[in-house]
């Protein structure tokens, strides 16, 4: 029994964190908001992540990947959440790459190389990200790979303006079908999305703590007010207990644990609830300044609102756990 990351995992996470601290300032997220009709054209960060092996991390070494698992990806995804990374790392690295690898698809190499990104969509929810090169689309329990440019897309606007969404129309053709386990891919997505939410929550907490330490009202820092202290302690509590749930779920996926889906659902509702609490108390502790779009925090808050409901809301995931418990 040992609940800790390996030195390799910590080093890799730390390397990615360093890269993002350097190359992914808030201005980069803002830039994604400011070019509303096309994907950000600066792929250098994505390229560097691909070069480090992040994008192909889950693909076997024989296909050019790193042959690692969901738990190895976990820390990297937390970091991607911390900087509110806009690129589709969850969809591409955690969902699509293993599907392409298992199917032996020819697009894998260029995806792993960082040349193409992939978003993921399901037949029962026609709204997908379209700021990618490829789309991995589920239809009738089968995956299909399509070029994004080849589907008919009707743009949809998200509260999180940094992600380009559209409802799409397309006709699945047998030639584009890929074998692959839909449920397993969905679990990977859920856990990966949870990791990003943990990162988003940590950033919101860190920024709020930093702000209330210096912002003064009534002759003392706002952060000296017990009401603010206790709100932020509650955020820490939620984040601190959600984090291990997400790591555990990643581990369960890697181990093929029969309860992996249940662990994934617990991870998602814990992480989403923690992140939503971080938004709520973060905004309240900041006051009006966080209510402006000049201040960066809103981009993190809106990302949380959008992602908390993606791949199943907290209520839907709790319901999955409820069924597991036979309640």
């Amino acid at each position: 029994m040992r609940f800790a990351f390996t030195e390799d995992q910590l080093l890799f996470t730390s390397a990615v964190a360093d890269l993002l601290a350097d190359k992914y300032p808030a201005e980069r997220v803002r830039a994604a908001w400011d070019t509303p009709t096309e994907a950000p054209d600066d792929r250098s960060v994505w390229q560097q992540l691909a070069d480090m092996g992040v994008v192909g991390l889950l693909a076997p070494e024989s296909t050019g990947g790193m042959g690692l698992g969901a738990l190895d990806l976990h820390g990297l995804l937390v970091e991607s959440g911390r900087v509110a990374m806009t690129e589709p790392i969850v969809e591409t690295a955690a969902v699509a790459v293993p599907v392409l690898a298992a199917a032996g698809h020819s697009a894998l190499a260029s995806v792993i190389a960082g040349e193409q990104t992939v978003a993921v969509g399901f037949a029962d929810d026609p709204v997908v990200r379209v700021d990618t090169d490829l789309l991995l689309l589920e239809h009738g329990g089968t995956w299909y790979l399509a070029e994004t440019a080849a589907v008919t897309a009707t743009p949809q606007t998200s509260v999180d303006g940094s992600r380009r969404l559209a409802s799409i129309e397309w006709t699945p053709t047998p030639g584009h079908a890929l074998p692959g386990d839909i449920a397993a891919a969905r679990d990977r997505a859920i856990v990966a999305q949870s990791a990003q939410l943990v990162g988003l929550a940590r950033h919101l907490l860190d920024e709020t703590v930093a702000y209330v330490q210096v912002r003064e009202q009534f002759g003392k820092p706002v952060g000296a007010q017990q009401a603010i202290k206790h709100k932020l302690a509650d955020v820490l509590l939620a984040v601190d207990y959600a984090g291990p749930m997400v790591a555990r779920a990643a581990h369960s996926i890697d181990e093929g644990d029969p309860d992996a889906s249940v662990h994934a659902s617990m991870a998602k509702c814990s992480a989403a609830d923690a992140a939503k609490l971080a938004v709520r108390h973060g905004l309240q502790s900041h006051g009006a300044i966080a209510y402006t779009v000049e201040y960066d925090l809103h981009m993190w808050m809106k990302r949380v609102w959008a992602l908390a409901a993606q791949w199943g809301t907290s209520a839907e995931h709790r319901d999955r756990v409820r069924q597991h418990l036979g309640l």
Binding site: S158, V159, L165, S167, Q217, Q284, Y291, M301, A309, D319
Partner: protein, 386 residues
């Protein structure tokens, strides 16, 4: 106890309802916190004024109907029930006007009330500053006495719709030697005066209506001092009490919001599980509680009792209820909830997400709910300040 409306009140309701049915725009106006939407809302204010519905409770000479508080409640219920446009004049008519009626000179009333009722002059609130949010006593903007008036310097911020307003009211430090609550004076000023610069700041919800207002040697006439010099704190407290209390957030608004939520649930029955049904029920009960409590409060006011610090209870209640109402809607909408604006698949044009963001400002503005809970515990319960 008499919980029925009399014949006059029923008649008034019927008139209001009919007028609204005939006049409320069929398509919702764009947000009044955007430039284009603001102008359309200003036209709507004029439409209201022309039928004497913009300020029903004011005396007729200023464009009102001298309506009773009960009639005002009825008007508000009907107004929100009809889904009528937001009131972009609200800072003026709900916050400044009560102060003008109480503290204003006859000349000030004559000068300001009618254009306000008509919507021609729009007022922004100049409370917050970069270092004075909920702590108004920390105000640094100052006014120095000069011949015939005051020379004003400093910065106000978070002025809602300030980018579109014509005037601003707020507190300025007139005696720098006095500490905190003292030495503040309540001033009114046009925003196009020399030395006044307005900079728009976009809000969380995408609307650009926030503003920062900079004063550099701007002149404010002695005629525009509201209440006594150095006595602005008492005047301001009367304003914030209105803002927290009854006038800004009438029960009709939340009753209507919960009804919209019920309508949403009826349209998406497959998304309504027992927990959501229970949450909507609790929200409906809360709106009822707010409504019933308001009847009590209005009765007290009509009996000449002061409401005072209890208005802080109101502010906590409605602002947190409003957040819950929108949280439930977003829970119901699930992944659809993130779609806003012109999204073809957005439900109700993304109004629930937009409303949620707006609702989140409720526990912050007009004194954060932390401050309100301090006020309640200290002034109503009598707990020690420190």
């Amino acid at each position: 106890m008499d919980l029925t409306w009399n014949a006059d009140e029923d008649q008034f309701r019927s008139e209001v309802r009919t007028w609204l049915a005939e006049n409320v725009p069929a398509e919702p106006l764009p947000s009044g916190d955007t430039e284009v939407g603001f102008r359309l809302h200003q036209q709507w204010e004029k439409t209201l004024f022309d039928s004497r519905y913009s300020v029903v409770s004011w005396p007729e000479q200023y464009g009102g109907r001298g309506a009773s508080l009960w009639q005002w409640l009825i008007f508000e219920e009907e107004y929100y029930r009809a889904g009528a446009p937001q009131r972009v004049s609200q800072n003026g008519i709900f916050l400044l006007a009560p102060i003008l009626f109480e503290f204003g000179t006859e000349a000030q009333k004559q000068r300001y009330l009618l254009p306000m009722a008509e919507g021609i002059e729009q007022w922004g609130q100049g409370w917050s500053e970069p270092n004075a949010g909920s702590d108004l006593a920390g105000i640094k903007s100052h006014a120095t006495k000069v011949d015939g008036g005051w020379r004003v310097n400093g910065q106000k911020t978070w002025t809602t719709r300030g980018a579109f307003c014509t005037h601003l009211f707020g507190l300025f430090r007139t005696d720098p030697d006095q500490e905190r609550h003292r030495g503040l004076t309540y001033l009114m000023t046009p925003l196009d005066a020399d030395g006044v610069t307005v900079r728009g700041v976009a809000r969380l919800d995408g609307d650009e209506g926030f503003a920062e207002v900079f004063f550099e040697d701007a002149f404010v006439s002695d005629d525009d001092v509201l209440g006594g010099v150095d006595e602005g704190w008492a005047v301001a407290m009367a304003t914030t009490s209105s803002e927290r209390g009854l006038t800004l957030r009438s029960p009709g608004r939340f009753v209507a919001a919960v009804e919209r939520l019920r309508g949403l649930a009826a349209r998406y029955p497959e998304a309504v599980d027992a927990r959501i049904a229970d949450a909507i029920t609790q929200a409906w009960i809360d709106a009822q509680a707010y409504q019933v409590s308001t009847l009590r409060t209005v009765t007290k006011m009509l009996d000449g009792e002061s409401v005072g610090a209890e208005s802080s209870l109101n502010k906590i209640f409605w602002s947190e209820m409003d957040v819950r109402i929108h949280e439930i809607a977003l829970e119901l909408l699930g992944a659809r909830g993130e779609l806003i604006d012109d999204s073809p698949d957005a439900v109700d044009a993304g109004g629930w997400m937009k409303g949620f963001q707006f609702a989140l400002s409720g526990p912050i503005y007009a004194g954060t709910n932390e401050i309100q809970r301090n006020i309640v515990s200290e002034r109503v319960l009598g707990l020690p300040r420190r």
